[in-house]
Symmetry: C2
Subunit: 262 residues, 2 copies
Amino acid sequence: MIGLFDSGLGGLTVVKEVWQQLPGYPVIYLGDTARLPYGTKPAELIRSWSRLNVDWLFNQGAEIVIIACHTASAWAFDLINQNSRRPVFGVITPGVRQALATTQNGRIGVIGTPGTIRSGIYQKKIKELDQSVQPYFQSCPLFVPIIEENWMERPGVREIAEEYLKPLVNQGIDTLILGCTHYPLMRGTIEQIVGQEVTIVDPAQAVVQEVKNFLIKNQELAQKIKRSREHRFCFSSQPYQAETISRLCLGQTIKTEVINDN
Amino acid sequence: MIGLFDSGLGGLTVVKEVWQQLPGYPVIYLGDTARLPYGTKPAELIRSWSRLNVDWLFNQGAEIVIIACHTASAWAFDLINQNSRRPVFGVITPGVRQALATTQNGRIGVIGTPGTIRSGIYQKKIKELDQSVQPYFQSCPLFVPIIEENWMERPGVREIAEEYLKPLVNQGIDTLILGCTHYPLMRGTIEQIVGQEVTIVDPAQAVVQEVKNFLIKNQELAQKIKRSREHRFCFSSQPYQAETISRLCLGQTIKTEVINDN
């Protein structure tokens, strides 16, 4: 199984990419709904919870794990990756690579939760890979609750999104990284505001592309992953709005399992 | 000390009432910031966390405890109160009593988190005390994130608040209970939308009034509470936006303590 871990339901946007790019590969999904949101909580808690969640997925039989949550990838990916014998993927670096391949003018915008933006991880990864690029950041703390309420097309939301995004547009960005698993669900509104001159980068697509490349090179592991039959969707507590969000992400409802042992 | 427990920082609106109505009484505040929000999480978790938090406050020397969080009061107050040897106050019943004393036309609106509204507690308490009253309910899940971002005066918020509140106004309510500790911080916007014909009931004022009456009748306990000197503000993890919210609620910043033992 391909393990995916997210703080809640937003990571289903990454499951959608797995289903599109890697059909036939079963997933085991863990949403840490009892502890969400991660985006406004301290780094040390995110690190500790993320380790527990990744370990749980491996213990349940996942052969590789994607940390779908940007805040968890920001604070915990390096630590977990260094200490893991099995393959772990985060969403930050794949998104950055794709943004660097996309930008023409070297001005990249990044939107995310307060935790992801405050972590400085995007700044660090972008500068590591290309010193010449100028990144601009904006935390958009109201986007996740708006998306979880399926409130994207309701009055007031466009004004809020403009408040967040206009400063980035005014900086002349030509590329925008959606630095939170929920944000692809608001892509329509975001695209309308930033305009056609700005290319949107969805790290969910980018990380699953990297996983796909990895599996092409590791056929034995790929075959092992495929041996499982069913998808599993596990949560640390009964998720709020599971039906709404799973329909938005996957076009179908999911059968949820509540686990109590992580 | 007077103990106050809330899922996060919103309960500081109740501390403000204690400071106004009961000056000279020190408080110990516990915000369960590691686990917030309570409003979208399952009842059984809220019950278990609420018990831990109330026990912690008593163990730290609180002589009485106010459950300031409406979601916790909704799911856990009866259970905790039945099993406690020491006085525990919730915010639901005091707010309902004040609303019943206020309404002229018997149409009362209640706004709260999804958890509080889904619990049916306001329906039950209102009907217990007055069968003839007709309550109307609206969960307003975006209000807490908007308030925590101090986004109340920003574009888009008035439109969101109108979407939530207009259906209640259209039902002809003359009284509106603010069924979440955060909502007093949005009182200005709410008042503008519901108009002068609707009287706003803030359960924070009502519960502290009940505590005050209780202490007048229990002078020995009142004197014991007063013996402590300092206010304490404790959190299960470093709170997000502590400075902003404490300034909004109390007009000053608070010294926060992070505790790890509940």
